[in-house]
Every structure is written in structure tokens, then in C-alpha cells.
């Protein structure tokens, strides 16, 4: 009997062991597979990654840092200290605590219900953390670091607060969007070399191609991490940073318009956890952290508009009221969709509506620069009373300079010869000064009290365009193109072959 019982026990044990081992191997393999799916530059861990600094308040006394970890990190802890040259500058660091946001990547919060995110299937949830360092001294270099789990710190990074006075220097990047990690990195590298002393960078929307795709955000952060100068970012939301929840109701709209006027769309649920940006209370909640202004210093004021046609009239009312209040010498508006631009022969009615609305605001107010993206080509022109009568390179009075550019591998074709249409439409108040195709271009602006000097560069760090805007005591502006603006433009004909970006990984 005893023997029989033992055998039965053994058989039971065997079954138990079998299932145990099968389960264990399966679990181990599953873990293995999950581990290999995400590249090391994407997967979250207990270490901080996707670290980014932004301007959330007065740039002279405050900056914010956001970072990401896996969900084992429940608290947001960062340290800051004045950047002393001594070996152990870090001894006197003080700790700051902030906020942690739990974000599911495969099911993101929509308006009323969660949206299933197919492209993030199988990705674990993550924690985004943010800390705002305030009460800092202007024009001072600080060192800061952020923490994952205990003992797992980022390296110390140094960042300088804004000086109250001019000059300021900033970089403007257009759409990163495609080929971000593989190709756009070299554009960021070039910027980091030619503008190593820049104070901040504006990213003009379409930071990625698919707003919710974690892997593309990983690419964007990998590329941005390449900028050795750790400078704050001013991100602008583009149409590719938006998620369309439902189509527009109007069946007469084409695909593009349908997207632009989608009945319901929201900025990607990754946006707010990963950027700490100013909140304009008077605007509807859906525009918080996509519409804001940054008074960088005495002379420079930046206004970020969300051109994704969400409550655009309200945005314009806010913009006008802010413009009337500011005493800054230079006012810059940045938004994703361009003021003047078209591909092929037509302009989308949706864009025209935005343009006409903004032009009305511009007519009543003094806006020096409008920085945009969206077109995947380079276009720079001027707006002002009868400017069309001047030839390129001639010094003349001007109201507003507008710029369209992109860093992405995706390239559109700017229609060079169609632009006089805008000029006719605007009674000769519009002129295209410089364009370029098939080459990623970024702009560097140096702003003093009386001048704004612009230089555009290609990914080799070679100059491509430039002008100087001067402003007299009465606010009258003149523009003078730099000689580089008169050189032969890049076109699809005189540059190398272009193939779309689908082959890139």
C-alpha cells in the first residue's frame, strides 16, 4: 500500500513539476521576447531617460525637467546646485520633489474613453516625472540631475538661466517627423556645433510621425539627446502630434481637411506628461500646454499657437490681448502650419482660413517673425506694405518675416513659381525671398535690442540663408538679406536623388 501511495504521489508530483517547469520556461521565454522587442534606447527601466528641460515660467529664475522611468519609480526626485568649478560642486545640491504621472502606452486616455494604441501593443505602462526648479538666479549656470529608483541618477547636466537683458540666441527646427534617430540626429548635431552657445530651441511641430507611437518618441529623445548643449526646448504641437478620434462630419471635405477639422481630436496623451509648459488658464483646457507664451528676456517674447484648428478664434483673441500688453521689442509667433504655403497649385481652404485670421491679427499688431513647419521644404519671405516691389537682397521696410522649414528626411516640393499669387491676393504685400528643396534646414536667431540676425544652416553646418532685421526707436523695421540668400537655391534638380522615408528604420 505504501509503495502504491508513493507511486501515486510521484505521479502527482511529476504532473505538478511538469506544469511548473513548463510554466517557468514559458515565462522565461516570454520575458525574453518582451525584452528583445524594444531597443535599448526605447525600453523603460529604473534609470531615468527621455530627460528634457523646458521653460515653464520666467526663464531667468525657473526651468522644468521631465523624465521617464518604468513604474517601479513612484516619486519624482531631482537635485540642483549652482555649477561651481570645484571638483565636488555636487556636495551642496538641494533636493526638489515633483509630480509623477502613470501612463498606459497601449491604452491611452481619450476624451471619454481610452483609445487603443495598436502600435504600442505589448508595451508596459511607464511613469513620467517632472520637477520645476524655481527661485533661481538669472544668467547663472546650474547643475541638475534626476533620479530613478534609489541611487539610479542621471549624470549631472549644466544649464544656464536666462539673462534679463539681451542678447539671446535660439534655434528653430521644423518637423523632425521621419528618419528621426537615423537622420535628424545629424541636423541636431550640426545645430549643436554652429550654435553651441544657443539659449533655447523651438521645435515647430510634427516632432514625430505618429503622435502616440512610443518608439518614435524614443527616436526623438535619442536624437535630441545628441545636442550636447543642454538647452531648454519650446515644443509646438503639429498635426502629427495630434490624435484624431473621429472623422469630421462634413463629407465634402477631402482627407487633409477632414483631418484638420476632425470632429474630435486631442494632442497626444504623451505630450503633457513629457513636457512641462506654461498653462494659460483663460484658454480652454484642451489648449493647455499647446498654447502659451514665453517672455524670454526684456526684448524677446515668444507666442506658441496651436494651429491644429482647435478653438483658433479664442487663441487669436488671447494672442491679441497678450500682444497689446507686452513691452518686448521683438515678438515671435510660432505654430506648426505655415502662414503662406502650398504644395502643387492649391491651398487648402482650412489653411486659408487660418491665414486670413492671423493676417488680421498681424495687421493690428506688431509681429516680427512667424516660425512654422509642415511643408517639408524651406521657404522664407516677407510681409509688409508693398514689399513685392523690392528685389531680393534690396534693403527695405518690412512688417513680418515668415519662415517654413523642416529637419525630416521627408521632403515636399515647394512650388517656386506660384507664390506671386499670394502677392496679388495681398496687394503686393507679400514676397518670397528664399526657398530650398530636398535639404533639411534649421535657423539660428541672435536677438539684441535693435537687431535680429538670422542664419540658416544645412546638416553639414554650412550656411544657406540669412538676413538682418533692424528696428529703430519708433519700431520701424528694415530687412537686409545676407549675400548667402542670393546664391543658387537647392532644388530637387540640383541635389541628389530623393526617395521617401519608408525604408528607414
Amino acid at each position: 500500500m505504501v509503495g502504491h501511495a508513493l507511486i501515486t504521489l510521484f505521479q502527482k508530483m511529476k504532473l505538478l513539476l511538469l506544469s511548473f517547469f513548463s510554466f517557468l520556461t514559458a515565462a522565461l521565454f516570454a520575458h525574453d521576447i518582451g525584452d528583445h522587442e524594444q531597443p535599448p534606447w526605447q525600453a523603460p527601466s529604473q534609470w531615468p531617460d527621455r530627460i528634457i528641460t523646458t521653460l515653464s515660467g520666467d526663464p531667468a529664475t525657473e526651468f522644468s525637467v521631465n523624465w521617464r522611468t518604468d513604474i517601479s519609480v513612484g516619486v519624482a526626485i531631482a537635485e540642483i546646485v549652482k555649477a561651481d568649478p570645484s571638483a565636488r560642486f555636487d556636495i551642496n545640491a538641494i533636493t526638489r520633489r515633483g509630480e509623477t504621472t502613470h501612463l498606459k502606452l497601449d491604452h491611452m486616455p481619450g476624451l471619454n474613453e481610452d483609445i487603443q494604441i495598436i502600435e504600442n501593443q505589448g508595451l508596459p505602462p511607464v511613469h513620467y516625472h517632472s520637477v520645476t526648479f524655481s527661485g533661481l538666479e538669472p544668467d547663472t549656470q546650474y547643475a541638475y540631475r534626476v533620479r530613478g529608483t534609489q541611487g539610479k541618477w542621471s549624470p549631472w547636466r549644466q544649464l544656464k538661466t536666462a539673462s534679463k537683458e539681451s542678447p539671446a540666441k535660439f534655434i528653430f527646427f521644423g518637423d523632425a517627423q521621419t528618419g528621426i534617430r537615423s537622420h535628424v540626429t545629424r541636423t541636431f548635431d550640426a545645430a549643436a556645433r554652429v550654435a553651441a552657445d544657443a539659449d533655447f530651441a523651438i521645435h515647430g511641430g510634427d516632432l514625430v510621425n505618429t503622435a502616440t507611437y512610443d518608439k518614435e518618441w524614443a527616436e526623438w529623445f535619442a536624437a535630441l539627446g545628441r545636442m550636447h548643449l543642454v538647452i531648454p526646448s519650446i515644443p509646438v504641437a503639429g498635426n502629427h502630434d495630434y490624435v484624431n478620434l473621429t472623422k469630421a462630419d462634413n463629407p465634402s471635405l477631402n482627407r487633409q481637411e477632414s483631418k484638420l477639422f476632425a470632429a474630435t481630436k486631442i494632442v497626444t496623451p504623451i505630450w503633457r506628461p513629457q513636457f512641462t509648459l506654461p498653462v494659460v488658464e483663460e484658454l480652454p483646457e484642451e489648449l493647455h500646454e499647446t498654447v502659451y507664451d514665453i517672455r524670454y528676456n526684456q526684448d524677446l517674447h515668444i507666442f506658441v499657437i496651436d494651429s491644429n484648428a482647435t478653438a483658433f478664434d479664442q487663441q487669436m483673441m488671447w494672442l491679441e490681448s497678450e500682444l497689446s500688453k507686452t513691452d518686448a521689442r521683438w515678438k515671435v509667433v510660432t505654430m506648426h502650419h505655415p502662414l503662406f504655403s502650398f504644395i502643387g497649385g492649391t491651398e487648402h481652404p482650412a489653411h486659408k482660413k487660418l491665414r486670413m485670421t492671423l493676417l488680421e491679427v498681424m495687421a493690428r499688431n506688431d509681429i516680427d517673425l512667424v516660425l512654422t513647419g509642415h511643408r517639408h521644404s524651406y521657404q522664407r519671405g516677407v510681409y509688409g506694405d508693398g514689399v513685392a516691389r523690392y528685389t531680393v537682397g534690396e534693403k527695405h521696410a518690412v512688417d513680418t518675416v515668415f519662415l517654413i522649414t523642416a529637419s525630416s528626411t521627408k521632403r515636399g516640393a515647394s512650388k517656386v513659381d506660384g507664390w506671386e499669387r499670394f502677392s496679388k491676393e495681398q496687394d503686393g504685400d507679400f514676397k518670397l525671398d528664399r526657398h530650398g528643396d530636398n535639404v533639411p534646414i534649421f535657423g539660428v536667431f541672435e536677438v539684441t535690442q535693435d537687431t535680429m540676425t538670422y542664419t540658416a544652416f544645412d546638416p553639414l553646418g554650412d550656411e544657406y540663408d540669412g538676413f538682418t532685421l533692424s528696428k529703430d526707436a519708433d519700431g520701424n523695421k528694415t530687412i537686409e538679406d545676407h549675400p548667402i540668400a542670393l546664391t543658387e537655391p537647392y532644388t530637387h534638380e540640383n541635389t541628389s536623388k530623393y526617395i521617401p522615408w519608408d525604408d528607414l528604420r
Partner: protein, 492 residues
């Protein structure tokens, strides 16, 4: 499959997994090898005008891989013209390390499997041209495109020199290299004068060094110099036998460097020279090994034969060390072997580390010249000796005599040498710019502030005149007038 067979298979499978404990959870993602390329670094192994050497790492699953290079044009899809080359692959066991001198079981690397280092030398390139390249791990797992400029045959050269990074490399040294890159984003190369890490065989330490530099190590070619901390203890005859110091087995796989056939095999890729262009020739001496006679002969020959206007010798150990340490025989042996060669050829710069402090001295032509001249006044000089450090470790020196000894103030056997500038408790990087007859030197601290500067003008006969810049006369940074110091043990 019968239940019993299944049972056995499962059992063996699980057993095999347990016998190689999975430490992946403890290894930071910035250390762990994967199928993706990491620890990418650009070096010189041949003519800097026509070649670019790149080395990278993957896990051991990547057996054969490739790299791609294209002329860097401004075009969006410059990469269409890319050309693919097969990489050389080396299997590196991180736990059981075997050198020419003996073997070592690295306790730092327990549980870390073997890794593969891959390298490529892109050849037949055009001088003074920007190239874009990328490297692959497993199929389809590419690095981003990096852009590197080949050397111009002549014209100005600019480089950055760092002393020991060694301690607090990822947390603290990263701000130094980033500041250097921000101040000199177009440098032609970065030179690291030894003791890059604290523990020669620690994969974690090297991960820190590579993570701190990141893309900077790739876009600006690196000249690495081995130091005593690149040596590890190896057992020559079993675990109970005697031990000696030997170069880490990680050095050679992770840097692709020139091989000097005239030198013993142990010095290959450790002592070498780089003729950067018409005007500049850099000689790297391995001061942490003992073959000084061989190196002295090789250095003498190289310096005799070169027609470069400016010569730089870099080695980890300075000829002059603080008194307390000066009794070590090996320092004397080294100085007696190498220093006379440097003097004989009036090498322009000797760039060193090891002391964890900053010291700059001159070998004067006028041996009676004792005091520093005022700003703007020039004196004849043969060689400038620099000791520097970029890491968080700072040697506590306060005694005046020691300070002087650091920079070799009037050593009995080298009377012409006088101290010009010291700095304590301050990680530094040095920017050296050569343009024809003029050499400009700057030492900057981690916040980018200028601390020391001089200019040397060389005439056609090779006579050199040194003029100290204003920063050389600023307040001396000592422990008494700088931030609080603490040893580096608490740093992560």
C-alpha cells in the same frame, strides 16, 4: 513528446537557464550589451586625412556585421550613396581575462556574458571632407548616422586634452566633456591622457566612460592614452602564484589604434604616434608599462625623423611628481629614459595626468629665469609640461613645496624647468590650437571659464617664445578658496 521526455527537456532547459544566472535586471541599460551597437568610438589607426577608424560593441549574438559610409551631402537622403563594408569582430570574455603576463577572473564582471567588439577602418577617403557613417549590430539594428571630418593636410588644427577622468565618470565627468564639446564643437580630436577609468577591468567603469561621452566620442576622433588605472592585477602562475600589473584586455578590442611594429607586442596600440597633418605630430608613450628603453629608442627615432613644425608627447605619468611620491624607483626610471629625449628634441608640449591636479611649467632657455614674467612679456622656451585632471578626484595638496614639485620646479636633474601655474580642486580641460607658427593654449574649468592661457610663437629656426595670457595671472585655485571637497566614494 512523451510526458517524461517533456519533463526532462523542461528540466534541462530550466537548469541551463539557472546555471547562467540572469543579471540583466541589475545591469543598467547603459551598460548592458544588446543586439544594437553601443560604445561606438572613432579613433585614428592610420593617416587621419584618408582614414576613419570606428569601434563598437554588441552582445555575442552578433557574429558578423557591417558598417556603412557616405559622403556627407546636405541632401535629405545623402545615405542612398552609402557603401557597405564588413567589420572585424572580436570575442571578448569579460570574466576570464588572459593577457601576455597572466590571467584574471574579474570580480567586477561576474554574470556578464562575453561581448563582441567590432571595428572598421574606412580607407581611401578624401582629406578635409565630411563623411557620414553608421554601424550595425544584428541585422537591421543600426546606429544613427554620425558625421566626421577627415584631417586637412595643412592649415589650423584644434584639439582638446583631458587629464584623468577616472572617478565619478558618469555622474560628474560628463559635465566636463560636454562643456569641452560645447566650447570647442569643431575640435579635430579629443586626447585623453590616461586613467580614463578607475578599475581597468570593470565593464561598469567603461560603460560610465562611454555613456558620459556618448556621441562626442564618435563625432570627434579620440586619442586614448593608457594609464596605470588601465592596468589590472593578473596571476602569472595560478591563483596562489605571484601577480603582476598588466594592461586590461578591454583596451585593445575597444580602441582601434596604430600598431608600431618596432615596439614589443605588449606596446602595440598602447604606444603609437599620429601624424595629424603637416604641422602636428603626436607621440603617445605608454608610461604605465615598463619597456622604457624600447619606447625611448622609438620616440627618439620618431622625433628625429619628423618634419612637423609642432610635436606633442603625451603620456599618463608626469616626469615630476609630489615629493611624497617621488621615491618610487619606477618614476626615476621613466624620467631618466624619456625626459632626455623630450629635452633633446625640444618637444613643444608634454601632456600628462596622474596627479589629479593642474600644473603647468616651462623648460626655459635661460636657466636663471626664475620668476614668471608679467602679462605680455615673452621668454624663450623649449618645452611646456602640463599636468591636468578632469575627473572628480582631486589630490589634497597644500604644502608650497609640494605644489612646486607637482610642476617640477627646478628639479636637480632638470634645472631649467620652472612652474608657471597651478590649480587645485578643479577639473579642467585644455584647448590647444595650432595655426602655422602660433600655438595657443587655454585651460578651462567645468563651467567653461578660462583659467590659464599662453601663446607660443615659433620662428623659422625653431626658436620658441612663450607669452602668458591674462588668465595665467588670475587667482590661484587652492583648497582654501574653492568649494568643499570630499573623496569620491559616495558618488554614483
Amino acid at each position: 513528446m512523451k510526458p517524461l521526455t517533456f519533463f526532462l527537456v523542461s528540466f534541462l532547459l530550466v537548469l541551463s537557464l539557472f546555471s547562467h544566472p540572469d543579471h540583466t535586471d541589475q545591469i543598467p541599460h547603459w551598460q548592458k550589451a544588446t543586439g544594437w551597437p553601443d560604445r561606438i568610438i572613432t579613433t585614428f589607426s592610420d593617416d587621419p586625412a584618408t582614414t576613419i577608424s570606428v569601434t563598437w560593441r554588441t552582445d555575442s549574438s552578433v557574429g558578423r556585421t557591417i558598417a556603412e559610409i557616405a559622403l556627407a551631402t546636405a541632401d535629405a537622403r545623402f545615405d542612398i550613396q552609402g557603401q557597405v563594408y564588413r567589420a572585424k569582430t572580436e570575442h571578448v570574455d569579460l570574466e576570464h581575462m588572459v593577457t601576455e603576463d597572466g590571467e584574471r577572473h574579474s570580480l567586477y564582471n561576474i554574470g556578464i556574458g562575453p561581448v563582441h567588439y567590432h571595428s572598421i577602418v574606412f580607407e581611401d577617403l578624401e582629406p578635409d571632407t565630411l563623411y557620414a557613417f553608421r554601424v550595425q549590430g544584428a541585422r537591421g539594428k543600426w546606429s544613427e548616422w554620425f558625421q566626421v571630418q577627415t584631417a586637412a593636410k595643412n592649415g589650423p588644427v584644434q584639439f582638446v586634452y583631458f587629464g584623468d577622468s577616472q572617478n565619478g565618470v558618469r555622474p560628474n565627468w560628463s559635465r566636463v566633456i560636454r562643456m569641452a564639446n560645447q566650447k570647442v564643437p569643431t575640435a579635430n580630436f579629443f586626447l585623453h591622457a590616461g586613467d580614463l577609468v578607475a578599475k581597468a577591468d570593470s565593464d561598469y567603469n567603461w560603460a560610465e566612460w562611454f555613456d558620459a561621452g556618448g556621441f562626442i566620442h564618435v563625432q570627434t576622433p579620440v586619442i586614448p592614452v593608457p594609464g596605470n588605472h588601465e592596468n589590472m592585477r593578473v596571476w602569472t602562475d595560478g591563483p596562489d602564484g605571484p601577480t603582476v600589473r598588466s594592461r586590461t584586455t578591454m583596451w585593445e578590442p575597444q580602441f582601434t589604434l596604430p600598431v608600431e611594429e618596432d615596439l614589443p607586442k605588449t606596446l602595440h596600440e598602447n604606444a603609437y604616434d599620429i601624424r595629424y597633418n603637416e604641422d602636428l605630430h603626436v607621440f603617445v608613450v605608454d608610461s604605465a608599462r615598463f619597456e622604457f628603453e624600447d619606447q625611448a629608442k622609438w620616440l627618439d627615432k620618431g622625433l628625429s625623423e619628423t618634419d612637423a613644425k609642432w610635436t606633442v608627447v603625451t603620456m599618463h605619468h608626469p616626469f615630476f611628481t609630489p615629493k611624497a611620491w617621488d621615491t618610487r624607483d619606477i618614476d626615476d626610471v621613466r624620467r631618466k629614459a624619456i625626459a632626455p629625449i623630450v629635452s633633446k628634441h625640444e618637444v613643444d608640449l608634454v601632456l600628462t595626468g596622474h596627479i589629479h591636479t593642474y600644473g603647468r611649467s616651462s623648460a626655459h632657455v635661460d636657466t636663471e629665469q626664475t620668476s614668471r614674467l608679467a602679462e605680455g612679456e615673452a621668454y624663450d622656451v623649449k618645452t611646456v609640461y602640463v599636468i591636468s585632471a578632469s575627473g572628480a578626484k582631486s589630490t589634497l595638496l597644500s604644502n608650497e613645496e609640494q605644489l612646486a614639485a607637482v610642476a617640477g620646479d627646478r628639479k636637480p636633474d632638470m634645472k631649467e624647468i620652472a612652474l608657471e601655474r597651478i590649480g587645485l580642486n578643479t577639473p579642467m580641460f585644455q584647448v590647444i590650437k595650432i595655426d602655422g607658427d602660433i600655438l595657443k593654449y587655454e585651460a578651462r574649468d567645468a563651467t567653461g571659464t578660462l583659467y590659464d592661457e599662453f601663446t607660443i610663437v615659433q620662428d623659422e629656426t625653431g626658436n620658441k617664445q612663450l607669452t602668458n595670457g591674462a588668465a595665467a595671472f588670475g587667482d590661484t585655485r587652492l583648497f582654501s578658496n574653492t568649494g568643499k571637497y570630499r573623496e569620491w566614494w559616495d558618488m554614483r
